[in-house]
Amino acid sequence: MKRWLTTMSERGHGVVVAVPWLWLALFFALPFLFVLKISLSEPQLAQPPYMDMLRYTEDGVMSIIINFDNYLLLWEDSLYVGALLGSLKVASISTLFCLLIGYPMAYAIARSPNHWRLPLLMLIILPFWTSFLIRVYAWIGILKNNGLLNNFLIWLGAIDQPLEIMYTPIAVYIGVVYSYLPFLILPLYATLVKLDPTLLEAAADLGARPFKQFLKITLPQSLPGVLAGSMLVFIPVMGEFVIPDLLGGNSTLMLGKMMWTEFFNNKDWPVASSLACVLLLLLIVPFVILRHFEGKAVEELE
């Protein structure tokens, strides 16, 4: 009985560890393999709109046909490279703006009195209680030519012609920064609030003025939070579809929109899949490199 219990508890331990692996295998690795497979097949006008990899040729020989044309097309057609660069540009600039706006906010919340922090954090999280789509539509109402912003500015007399913001890259940036800001603030706040305030006193005591204290003590120690927050913004924005589609119209070329067009308008699943694979690769490679260097730094410390 006792032995049975021991083996069961050992198995139980195994099960617990297996759950996340199983989850990843079932809902990440397997679907990704499907996408990879589709990306390496040829398009056809049928249902499903791609040819099987495994095909019987006439004389009873089974052959595996791997088609790299889709990837070559991505490389050769400047449209796709342009979409990739467009996504990179939007993601980078948005992350930068999120940092410029989010860092002071996270810092202010972390430095505010204890009883203020929770309400302030709630205000950051509050928008999530409304659907993402509704919030993006609300921005249309604000930014369009006869929208809230323009009407207000005209009423003020600051302008006499409505500003053309809607369907420009600026609208996309506004939408993206607005939507993703909380994802940067939360991890950054978590890092900043843990910093030991006596370190700043020590720096002051050693002659560092407030700005120098921030630069030499707070900023370097908050970098892990900056990195985590930036990734939480950068990665999803790279594949973002809804915001550029609703607010940017045709003004911005991004990977997410490109994929949509290939899947639903051109019915070219293989090209869309290869786009998805390229995006994944682009996001994973820098991440892995980063982890590698982080691991090395930790080893050096030990």
Binding site: T198, L199, E201, A204, D205, L206, G207, R209, K216, L301
Partner: protein
């Protein structure tokens, strides 16, 4: 307030000239209704090893933080080397602090930590490197120069913190419970090292501690604080031998207290009647007292001797041994007087295998000299 001549320590002689480096002038600090510092006046001499001693919450740390510039006094002034520093921010004061938690910068190596202060005053590189090497040698941490704080032991971190606060050659070094995080052996060893370093550099050290032994070992003068006020300001020896109040007598070391009133005063001898003692107590005290005044006699346990009838002691008292605690070097005896008051006295254990000279329930006659005890008027 007492005038008995006692042997002055070396430090007292050196600092008897009034070379004042810190002047705390009527400083109060309140947080709401709570006064952390209540109208404190204090003058600290150049080159002194000064202790702010007290239980937690007595205001000693607040006073230290006022000196460092982290707190602004609610009223009063702070002068450092003759200059009013009351409203000067910490980064412009000629003062450095060693923090209780050490507050080492975790993302910097030992060298960078120590060089941090020097870099703020943009010292030339070669000079800076020499200076860093010098202080690292002073506290013997050259071996760990390239490490980060989390790769150091508690004792090593303490040394780095000390080196960092000494690097800028401050006029005053403030130390907030500098040995609090060390174990007992290391703490005792470090106490002497701190004193040696202080004597070598000649910098004024102001240390905050709750440990009376630490304060006694290291300092030239001690300010005992209680509820935001300075209870007593004295050299360690006077602090111990001549406490001014029940609080100081109790705070430092063990003490027996007899409450009573003055019967008569003759030259510098006072006779005191106490309900707690069968015989009147004779205390040497030279200031004028009025007859009938309420006073307390403070008697240290090691001043008490076991006497026989032939001995001529001005104070003698009969007691029954109730408890014995063997501490190795000495034994502490708890004895009950006829009045029910329990007093403590200590006897050295001179011989290793001596038979216990006293046992439980044994009646003994205890005696002490008139100048072995002190008189408290508050």
């Amino acid at each position: 307030m007492t005038t008995q001549p006692i042997n002055q320590t070396k430090d007292e002689v050196i600092h008897s000239n009034d070379d004042e480096i810190v002047k705390i002038d009527n400083v109060s600090k309140n947080f709401g209704n709570v006064f952390a510092c209540d109208n404190i006046n204090l003058s600290i001499h150049r080159g002194e090893f000064f202790s702010l001693l007290g239980a937690s919450g007595c205001g000693k740390t607040t006073l230290l933080r006022i000196l460092a510039g982290f707190e602004t006094p609610s009223s009063g002034r702070v002068l450092i080397d003759g200059v009013d520093m009351t409203d000067v921010p910490p980064y412009q004061r000629p003062v450095n602090m060693m923090f209780q938690s050490y507050a080492l910068f975790p993302h910097m190596t030992v060298i960078d930590n120590i060089a941090f202060g020097l870099k703020q005053e943009s010292m030339p590189k070669s000079q800076l490197e020499d200076r860093v090497k010098e202080v690292m040698a002073l506290v013997q941490i050259e071996k760990f120069a390239k490490r980060k704080p989390d790769q150091l032991s508690g004792g090593q971190r303490q040394r780095v913190a000390l080196a960092r606060s000494l690097a800028k050659q401050p006029k005053i070094l403030l130390l907030d419970e500098p040995l609090g995080a060390l174990d007992k052996k290391l703490r005792e060893q470090t106490q002497f090292e701190l004193v040696n370093i202080q004597e070598r550099l000649g910098i004024t050290f102001i240390i905050v501690t709750h440990d009376q032994e630490e304060a006694m070992t290291m300092s030239s003068r001690i300010a005992l604080m209680h509820e935001g006020r300075i209870e007593q300001l004295d050299a360690p020896r006077r602090m111990y031998e001549f406490p001014v109040s029940r609080y100081s007598a109790n705070f430092i070391g063990l003490v027996n207290l007899f409450d009573g009133h003055v019967i008569s005063q003759d030259d510098d001898q006072v006779l005191i009647q106490s309900n707690q003692s069968e015989t009147p107590l004779l205390v040497r005290y030279s200031q004028q007292l009025t007859s009938g005044m309420e006073v307390t006699v403070a008697l240290r346990p090691e001043k008490i001797r076991i006497i026989n009838n032939a001995d001529d002691q001005p104070n003698r008292i009969t007691a029954v041994i109730k408890d014995i605690a063997y501490l190795g070097d000495v034994s502490i005896y708890h004895a009950e007087l006829a009045s029910g008051l329990r007093i403590k006295f200590t006897l050295p254990n001179v011989q290793a295998l001596a038979e216990q000279p006293l046992t439980w329930e044994q009646e003994v006659v205890l005696g002490w000299q008139a100048d072995s005890c002190s008189l408290l008027t508050q």
